[in-house]
Symmetry: D2
């Protein structure tokens, strides 16, 4: 896998294909299926991994990965937001199996104090929470409003406790029927950062975003299905350097009249060797850097609002695209 | 108890005494002992309740209640802060029984989004957290640093889950030896708001501050000792109205030449009747009001820093009054 | 005026009427006209003061005061918000005289760090700002978008400079055609707090909200028309105590069988005497208290969003009630 | 200058030297003097530019540039902070000429909402402000406390007005004797980000940090001396890519046995050509990226506190390294 860090199944497949010369939107691997749907303001790519081979080669657990690329999100237009919340809630509804009596636990992973890692806590602070009303004032609950609860416990460095342990403790008390977990991810591609939403039915490993690797967060560890929603908000500095070097070399090969053969040689350096060399020269300081868009604060606010609305729409039949904004809070 | 709302044992005793004509700094009730210590910038009042009669008459569980009144906190002077963190950490050390191997769970109750209720979360965000280092990098732990973890789960209206349930879930996983829980309180007296710290070994009932009444939070429910630290940050509007009326009537009795007898009569109205009358005329809107100092944001920041430092000093022998500031974070 | 503090013309008139026995929605004073309009979710009261006598008796400068009472704002319904932003923008459009070439300066008074005083800065952070685009990239400006700029300079205690001086400095450089200034106000009535929007063409005196009295902020001092938008977010503690006492006494007069004559006498105490007595017994601590709704953070967020949208709709013809949300930022 | 973006004079000289083969801590240019002082936890480098040639070749205005590199800032130790605030205040005192009657205007440039750009506003929110007390309550001012005022007006995209215009407006009203302006800078070096403080007597061009280029901010435009304090908080993504490529190539030249000659050739590509190539391949998305340390929020809080304390110490003789913390607020 050449050490390039990505949490997106769609990118894992791209990287695999780059090394085997295949096109981006298909898969070479048996048991990996890819489907692309195009919408006016978004592109939806569905990766289904059903074989051990696919799991192994892409480094992603078996299951469904739906990637919604919000190509027009910068337009700041309500039309775009509307399509996004509709697509996300639609896809969520397809992979969430619940009845009217289900209790849903929504978990926001990440650290409020690091902007690109605050996506999970922000979404959680905006979703509608009703479990206590169901319990203490059931007569006040409208038809079409399910029992939901939500927690954003913070990260290991803040609590001193594995996030998975905290959530498992809450799950043991609350006994939800399903968990929806939201986290910031890392992408290998600048273009995808903060424009892409990945939904999957496989759960996630917290900390794959900005922080350290922590414990697994899946059906196996939690005892109930775990739906994961993630948005890449950072790119690894080493990944950016690596991609840039590749592009520069390609460009030199094409443009340069004189040293063409030199660059061809350069291009042929073993990819693993090159990436580990980059990590070496960048050193420890670089490992501690993150690359984000300048307007990351604004982006996190907007995309977390869209995701909150979509979750509300997917879970409560009284909420639809038209009235969704009324059911989120603004902080 | 006349419906006046206070979370301070010292005030519960005052109210009892007012109705029996006794002085404020002693107790009339068998099994209730009161001791006062005076310091340059603080007054420490210790209320020990050991009898069922005391428990019943004061409406407070048996145990120790140490009240530190920071009379000079407005001076904004480091000398005052130094004395405060020393007094608080000293009193904490007396009632916390731990060994070098103990794990301490620090819990911040309350709602980050309501300033006067944010004391608990603020303290938690500033205390030193080491449990994960003890677990994963024990060689990096200095001698004199105990294992601490911390959580501020939010309130029922935000999570949909009783705070007690969330904490019990975490306790079941982490198995701490002791819990320290920090919460904002309600006081009956304007003068005490945000100038008083109450420490007790009885645990607390979350939500006695700004919010609703929620579940018990004690040794009985948690299975380990629960130390409570509280600061009154609000006064009930009805309490203020009631106190004002009493003062106005007293003033009229003393000043007015003409209608002295009228006011004497007014003064003699049954206290319960009067208070319930006030609550009635104030109505629902009033129940939803809170009375706080104007500079509440600044006060919450300062007092939560002092409490964080004092907790760090009480738990970790490497931390003392001189270096305490180095071990808290600034947000 | 009995010392009762209100920034609302509608309340100044009410207080005047209470003392002369007139009904609330009319005026006894020549040169003061009052009109009431009722809408499904709001009540609009227009007070026009045209005489010196009106100015003097109500303690408010000559001009128009439009008060929109958002009686259903707690419903948290988009229908209510829609009607509010439509009413506010409609009334703004009536009293703002601008051309397509006008530059509008929007000023948010108040202190970001004190929640109930943060209304002005919050509105400013949400309004659309275009002056720099008009200046540097005029080709990017849509038809129907006017030149707007915005500033929230902070309060005297933060800057050390009178807010009026800072704004005058900016006005001298920017030379706007009109100023819209937003500030938090004080109300005498619990019921109106955070549910009422007052628009006036008279300008305002900054600091009438939470802080101290500062300099005038009007056409006279700024050299251009000043439109003021205010929302009461606090009630004076003394005012609440005073009103409560009145209500309690009234209640005693009606209910009590025995001492009816006593209370009648009490009721007849001179109002000025009683209010100053209350202020006396409450003392300095009370002067420093503010009374706000518990959910003030949430309310400030919501009402500032509605006002931002209404200002955008009033100033830019491309913005209407349907697309208004797309033109405000969420922080 | 190869397009590499740096706001630090020390780095401008390094880049110049790299291209002429000179050592880093001296200068090749007549009229540019460099002195280095070493302290236990910091390194102070003073660059004095006195010639037109120096100004031109380094791309920095004539004047003094003092760079304090806080090599141990990560230790989170009070000893380190103490040395830093002492060094900064000492250097400030040397270049600030004021009397007891002087008024000092402190200006925080940058955008509160973008963490790495919030340095200026954060410092301003922590410095002691006294001008209003000097003016209205002179009897309350201690000896040794000068008249200070402070403003953080926000950025062009937020206000619609050039920051320079706003400040000039305030300067015209307040008539300060000197201006101290604080801003976030860009560095070319990962190692210096958030560990380096540059003080200069030349003023600055706002926006050299994260945002766009805006107007000059100097004695010439303001009419009084302008002291600039800056901390690099971001690195340009293109700069990182460029430096990484250089390091990779160097590494290949040294390690590789086979293609040594290839890499030598690659190394000799014209630097300008290479950098513009990188910018090209990175494209527009990259231009919008910023590279910051992961813990940028924490760093900005800490370093802004140190700078606030140092400014207070430099301006007010009652404040010294021991009591400095008492004079800053904690938000």
């Amino acid at each position: 896998m050449y050490g390039i860090r990505t949490d997106l199944a769609i990118e894992a497949n791209e990287i695999y294909n780059e090394n085997s010369g295949a096109s981006v939107t298909s898969s070479q691997i048996p048991g990996v299926e890819i489907n692309v749907e195009k919408y006016e303001h978004a592109k939806v790519t569905k990766v289904n991994i059903s074989s051990d081979e696919g799991e192994h080669k892409l480094g992603k657990a078996k299951g469904n990965y739906i990637t919604i690329e919000a190509i027009d999100i910068k337009l700041n237009s309500d039309e775009v937001y509307k399509q996004l919340r509709e697509l996300i809630s639609q896809e969520l509804r397809k992979i969430i199996t619940i009845t009217d009596k289900s209790t849903i636990l929504i978990v926001g992973l990440g650290n409020w104090n690091i902007t690109p890692d605050a996506l999970g806590p922000k979404v959680v602070s905006n979703v509608m929470v009703t479990r206590h009303i169901h319990e203490y004032m059931p007569e006040e609950i409208e038809t079409g409003v399910r029992s939901t609860c939500a927690i954003a416990p913070g990260v290991l460095g803040i609590t001193g406790v594995e996030t998975g342990e905290i959530i498992k403790g809450v799950v043991d008390k609350v006994k939800p029927n399903i968990i929806i977990v939201i986290d910031a991810l890392a992408s290998r591609s600048i273009e995808r950062v903060s424009k892409t939403i990945q939904i999957s039915d496989t759960g996630i490993c917290p900390g794959s975003g900005v922080g350290n690797s922590r414990k697994e967060f899946t059906m196996k560890t939690m005892g109930v299905p775990v739906i994961a929603i993630g948005v890449p908000t950072v790119v690894d500095a080493a990944t950016i350097a690596n991609d840039t070097i590749d592009k520069v070399i390609n460009s030199l090969v094409n443009q340069s009249s004189k040293g063409k053969e030199f660059y061809e040689t350069l291009k042929s350096i073993d990819k693993n060797e090159k990436f580990s060399l980059i990590q070496q020269v960048l050193g420890e300081d670089m490992a501690n850097l993150m690359v984000t868009p300048k307007e990351i604060d604004d982006i996190i606010n907007k995309i977390s609002k869209v995701i909150s609305e979509a979750i509300n729409m997917a879970l409560h039949t009284v909420i639809n695209s038209e009235n969704a904004a009324n059911y989120t809070l603004i902080h």
